[in-house]
Amino acid sequence: MADPHFGLERHDPEGFSLTAAVDSAPPDEPSLPVGEWLRKNLFSSPFNTVLTLVFTVVALAGLRGLLNFAFSEERNWDAVRVNLRLLFTQAYPEDQYIRVWVSVGIVVALSGLSLGLWARLSGVPVARVAMWSMTAGGLIALGVVLREPSAVSGPDGDPMRDAAGEVIRQSFGAAMGDRIWWWLAAAVLFGVGAGLWRGFEDERRRHTYVPTIPLVFGSLGVVVATLWLYRWGHYAFTGNEFVYEPDRTAALSTKLPWTVMWLLLMASWAAGRQGRGTPAEGRLKVLVNLAWLLSPFILFWVVLRDPAIDWAHVWSTDLPMAAGFVIGGGAVLYGLTRPGIGEVGRVIAVGLLAFAGFNWVAAFAGWYPMLQKARFGFLLLALAALLAPNFTGERAQRLRLVWGWAGAMTVVQYLVTMANTESTLNTPTSEFLGGFSVTLFVAVFTLIFSFPLGVLLALGRTSKLPIFRVLSTAYIEAMRGIPLITVLFFFANMLNLFLPQNMELGSVAAVTVGFSLFAAAYLAENVRGGLQAVGRSQYEASDAVGLTTVQRTMFIVLPQGLRVSIPPLVGQVISTFKETSLLAVIGIFDFLFLANRAIPSQSEFLGVKREGLLFVSIVYWIFAFSMSKYSQRLERRLGVGER
């Protein structure tokens, strides 16, 4: 770089350093003059010229077909607009809708905090912003010209038809005149882009950066502002009534929450930035991670489900039991971590494990009753006790383990109590989630459950112990050999056959179990790839310093192996997310099912299917595409395969 002080680096009010962005930007060639660029990339040989001509025609025809389809008078986009709420939350009660917004708000706030705490400040070169802007303007202008003239609407608002039943269309000139606003938008976008392009010379154009965060927040702000300013119309489905009010801005119940979300995002981002660099940064990051981990459980079982708490039961049973586990379990753990306790500690831990296992045997045989959550509590305590020998030492260290136990136990007991309480929501369907929310629910919980199982299976498959290896390999290969849909059928129809008596799982929960077991097999293969990338010397070194197998796996092998397998794991997340669409086949009211079956059967929108399906594909595409871009960035940043 010739001048280290140009561009935003100098004007940056908070003194952000942009060098990182400069380092990671791909080296680009100096831009060619237009004529030379065309000759090099499109007309370099006769064959190339033919290709260019043919595919230009194909592209233009495709674009024209798409536009004519999307903007045709026969399209009924109202079917999507009216049903937006249905598509995302199905029949969630109107009077409780604030719960949905609170959940969205929590997720938004956490995202903002994480962005502020972690995201490295990067920028987009002015050259690229200018190109985007010009391309968008050019595409709009092209679309305006390509789209066939609109139909002349008759007195009743429907398009007029001639004797043969064909729609009568405007003349080309009139159509172009009618699209004046589109022309204007195209001109503005193109003009801004061209202005930016001309305003910088070649070198500076490519090395001046527009910071990403203000760019993104600004664009989101523009979108939110249009909710207040532009007359999108108010289309809704309230109770049993369709509401069409085309000539007004969006309803207050839509624009207000989104404005709050936008402000919340910026506020939490600013808070995250403030926390960065302070001594508390590390602890703050741990807290945010913990909040991310807990948020699915709390949002789905407590916030959205709104359990009606039975206080008498809480005081008589739940609270004493929780207190017993927290205090009693804490005391046991404190005792077990006493230095020099030796083999006695392990014997006690194994005894506890045997007791915890026996509780289940007794439950199946019906010897004595016990609350399921007590059984889980004992199991957790036994597992913690088995880990305890790793924490022997000073009083402070032992207390830390006790505090961790107390916190985890409190959360577990609270969540289980909440999940066991009846919901107060009165929804017409048995599940209170539907549409996109059930898609998200299944995807998120599948990830949470399949990750530990997948890692265990991968460890089993790479293990030297033959029985573990055979069992994991058989499981992984069997699961990977059969289609997901058969697994889902099995779990949706037959899981309850296999469960112990008086234990039932709802269809969504049963299917989530199926998804998790299926995804775990694929995840295991990705993790295995990472584990195999850990060098032999790492094993030998950890053996040399005398680590046990568990310690070696936990502290040496897994951290390195998982780091390598992050990009394929993100790919796995994307496919799991896409696979949730299979819920529609087994009759769960998910996003796709609503678009494919529910909307086309509404009396107002009989048979209107393609619009909803297109909308669904766009939403899926946005999520999957952004995740795949993120994974590509991650791959570059982790430098996998470059070391």
């Binding site: 499109l42 029985i467 050999g481 289609p483 058969t486 059928f489 129809n493 309850n496 494919n596």
Partner: protein, 511 residues
């Protein structure tokens, strides 16, 4: 270790740790405990399911395969013996058909798009990227539904219509194209081709040897193709000559049918024992060193025991668990040869390969496609094109990655020795790229096969759809799930076997 005294080296070595800290004991104890736990869990689950099914008055067993299920399968081969087993068989054939046709189309499209993305032509490469990014990031099921909805919204089938009338018809009934199928003399003609291949190989080998001796181009591959083509052309008219093969195969069928089941049982058992013995011997041999037998680990012993136990399991299965297996093998062998004999039967002569153009018939009130053409009904077209377009995007990425992974030095070296561009691609780049492409490509073929099961969403009768219908009629959940599982595992294994075969042939021979 005790800390008060300082034991001598010998004492330390002879001292064994207590059994609960002995690595070998702990290792095997945990493994056996886990195995028992898994078995116990499986036992518990199956007993629970048994009780539950008994409570619901649903019997277990596969007798529903022989009973008329009252299904109406609209697509696929004829459902002649109207039994559950035949219905499932029709479903399997439909699945296999979709998979094979899909694999061919997806490979072709994927290679084109993948190479297109690498093209120096800006618009071609951008369109290819656009296609890949659009298709890859939308769930397959959404795409299938979308194609289904688009086909449903097409105009009705009418008499003289279609993009190319008489050749390609497209309407809300789906797509209909000309059909090419093996005619009556096809199998006799195949014999001709086979003989041609044998002769051609001999000729090609001669030519290659002469090429290596003289250094002059002798075009061995071209000769091979020419010989096969010559035999094919001669066989086109001469194939009735092999009509006598029909009675021969009939005799073979009778001979196979006469084999006593006991002999088959014995043969299978001996085969299993021999295989296990051979494997163990080879395993031990591979551990022999000049200094004697190398130390075998737990793992090695486990493998050998496993091989032995496996052979034992096969024998137990053949004699105790499923004694009917032997007669089933005999009968299937006989049936197979009878079918072949029927295909060769005398009097069957006609063009080996035949074709029909699509026709439109009026069935009832509305015109529909007749049976002459190759019809993609609405559901089948949705699954087929959905699966093909989706998989092609992934194949394109694999192809691109494979070509990019060939080191640049290879291209430069090829240019340096003055190879032409086509020769360079054919002899240098593609063989190396192919080696990288093959394993993930096999994976995609597997995915494609599994993805055809989404046919159930649009009502095309593939294996899963038929199974699901049978399940809703008979309640035989576990049985049908087991059939699904076996079928798809068999598909996976055969595709892996094919891919592995190519992998081994393509493997870099390192010195």
């Amino acid at each position: 270790m005790s800390d008060s005294s300082s034991p001598t080296l010998a004492a330390t070595q002879s001292q064994r740790p207590p059994f609960y800290r002995d690595a070998v004991v702990v290792k095997w104890l945990t493994q056996v405990a886990t195995l028992l736990l898994v078995l116990a869990a499986l036992f518990f689950l199956t007993t629970r399911a048994g009780q539950e099914l008994a409570a619901k008055n649903i019997s277990t067993g596969y007798e529903f395969l022989g009973v008329n299920p009252g299904l109406d399968l609209s697509e696929g081969i004829d459902t002649d013996p109207a039994t559950g087993g035949r219905a499932l068989w029709v479903g399997m054939v439909n699945t296999i058909r979709l998979a094979i046709a899909g694999i061919m189309a997806a490979t072709a499209l994927g290679v084109i798009v993948g190479v297109g993305r690498l093209s120096g032509n800006w618009i071609v490469s951008k369109l290819s990227s656009l296609y890949i990014e659009l298709v890859r990031n939308v769930p397959l099921l959404v795409q299938i539904f979308l194609i289904f909805a688009v086909i449903a919204a097409l105009p009705r089938a009418v008499e003289d219509q279609g993009p190319i009338h008489g050749w390609i018809h497209l309407s809300n009934k789906g797509l209909s194209v000309p059909r090419v199928f093996p005619g009556d003399g096809f199998y006799q003609w195949l014999v001709f081709l086979g003989i041609g291949a044998v002769v051609g190989r001999y000729v090609a080998r001669r030519r290659r040897r002469s090429q290596e001796l003289t250094g002059r181009d002798a075009y061995p591959v071209l000769w091979l193709l020419a010989v096969v083509a010559a035999f094919g052309m001669a066989g086109w008219w001469l194939h009735p000559v092999f009509g006598w093969l029909g009675p021969v195969f009939a005799v073979v069928a009778d001979a196979v049918g006469a084999v006593p089941p006991g002999a088959v049982q014995a043969a299978i058992s001996l085969g299993a024992l021999a295989a296990a013995g051979w494997w163990i011997k080879r395993f031990v041999d591979s551990h022999r060193t000049p200094a004697g037998l190398a130390k075998l680990t737990d793992d090695d012993y486990f493998r050998m025991i496993f091989a032995g136990v496996g052979a034992g399991l096969v024998i137990v299965t053949v004699f105790v668990v499923w004694p009917g297996l032997a007669s089933w093998v005999v009968n299937s062998g006989r049936d197979l040869f009878e079918v072949v004999s029927d295909k060769f039967g005398n009097g069957r002569s006609g063009p080996p390969i035949d074709g029909h153009r699509p026709d439109i018939q009026k069935l009832g009130n509305f015109p529909n496609y007749g049976p002459a053409g190759l019809n993609f009904t609405q559901g089948m077209a949705a699954v087929y094109f959905g699966v093909v377009l989706y998989t092609a995007a992934f194949i394109a990425e694999i192809v691109r990655g494979g070509i990019l992974a060939v080191p640049r030095g290879q291209t430069e070296a090829a240019q340096a020795v003055g190879l032409r561009r086509v020769t360079m691609l054919r002899r240098v780049i593609l063989p190396q790229a192919f080696r990288i492409i093959m394993p993930p490509l096999g994976n995609q073929y597997l995915n494609l096969t599994k993805n055809t099961s989404l046919a159930i969403a649009v009502g095309y009768s593939d294996l899963v759809q038929v199974g699901q219908t049978l399940f809703s009629q008979t309640g035989k959940s576990i049985e049908i799930f087991s059939i699904w599982m076996l079928f798809y595992l068999a598909c996976s294994l055969s595709i892996s076997a094919i891919v592995n075969f190519f992998n081994v042939r393509l493997r870099l021979v390192e010195r």
